[in-house]
Amino acid sequence: MTQTSEALPAFPMTRPTPFDPPEGYAAVRDAGGLARVRLWDGRTAWLVTGYDEVRSLLSDPRISADRGHPGFPFPTAGREALERSGRTFVTMDPPEHGRLRRVFTKYFAIKRIEALRPMVQRIVDELVDDIMATPPPVDLVPALALEVPARTICRVLGMPFEDRHRFQALDHRRNTLTTSPEDVLRATEEMLAYADALITRKQREPADDLVSELVADQLGGDTVSREELVAAVRLLITAGHETTANMIAMSIATLLRHPEQLRELRADPSLVPNAVEELLRYISIFHISPTRVATERIEIGGHVIEAGDGVITAVAGANRDDAAFADAARFDLHREARHHVAFGYGVHQCLGQPLARVELQTVIETIFRRIPSLRLATDPESLSVKEYAFLSLTALPVTWEEQS
């Protein structure tokens, strides 16, 4: 295996545009849905881009999320440092995983998150007020995309708005693929220290927020240790931040690149929820993940994954599988897209997805209603993504006709 690894394609692969997955993903799909790739450290792993294969493997008990496993694959040295350091329910297998995840499920129940809609709407409206008061062009990445989830997280978790710049900067260091392992670890330590201090503050001065509720429900109990709670609060601060932020920017850019569908959407806002599902599928913000390791031999798609092999279940490939979505490369806000795997699949599927949906639906309905003439202030071909753990637009300059 090692002697032939030089000939294998390297992973991560380059995307032709921010809006299209690497061309190599389709070839892998045609070869049974998975194929071997070469990683930065010379090891090999299975890249999985077939929809059925991704779903099957992500729900297979012979597949592990344990980042401590020696065979676990990582896309870069920095990601290895980051993922091996943070032990939360995200990196655990059943049954331990269920014990810890179930502590947090109640806070993300659909009805509870739906009740946050008016608060999210206020946040979006304030940001759009500010944008409309600025002479165009405006870069929507800092002015809107990063702010909506940051302010929402501050409100939900009970953190002062001013703190958002601090965790944004730390998160940015952690998610930049070129950050050194040492710096990733330093940023992670700072995030954990912040989460620890937040818990201490909520112990002293409880308020009407999720962290205060967690402290009251769990601290001192026998289900979760303080260390586990600190790691989980760190996860709650970061998990819904850059993911949603980048989805907002990419969603607005995608709609601006499909003006006829955008016109339909503006004329009929009841299309927004389905449009968001299609945006989640089409964009697939997790362009190089999730990652797993096989703990037993698995036969799939005419291939054999051996115990100890790394597995990269690229949801960005699965969501463009024609077998699951007819003419999958086409953006179509009318299609049935709810079976996408943008939030992953299996027991680790994103816990915060109801909140992501509320934020995305609110932003998209509001920005195009309030600024109907919104358009790109740059050549669409010039939009680019960073070397980042998620698809992250460098900038999204927009302009509009100012009301006289």
């Binding site: 179930r102 499920t105 109640k106 993300f108 129940a109 709810r338 079976h339 599927q349 994103c350 816990l351």
Partner: protein, 63 residues
Amino acid sequence: MKITVEIDRCVGGGQCVMAAPDVFDQDDDGLAVLLDPDPPAGLADDVQLAARLCPARAIVVEA
């Protein structure tokens, strides 16, 4: 139609509530609650989607 939920498998993702809100709800812990184990035939598509979306494959539907 006969629906069963293997509650030990549930991970509280709420997919069933989104797909078939007349048939599924969530309890105070965010775990699935089956409101109607034998819903009218008109809800069959919603129920099938709920079973398909469930990330823990906790929903079993028998015709």
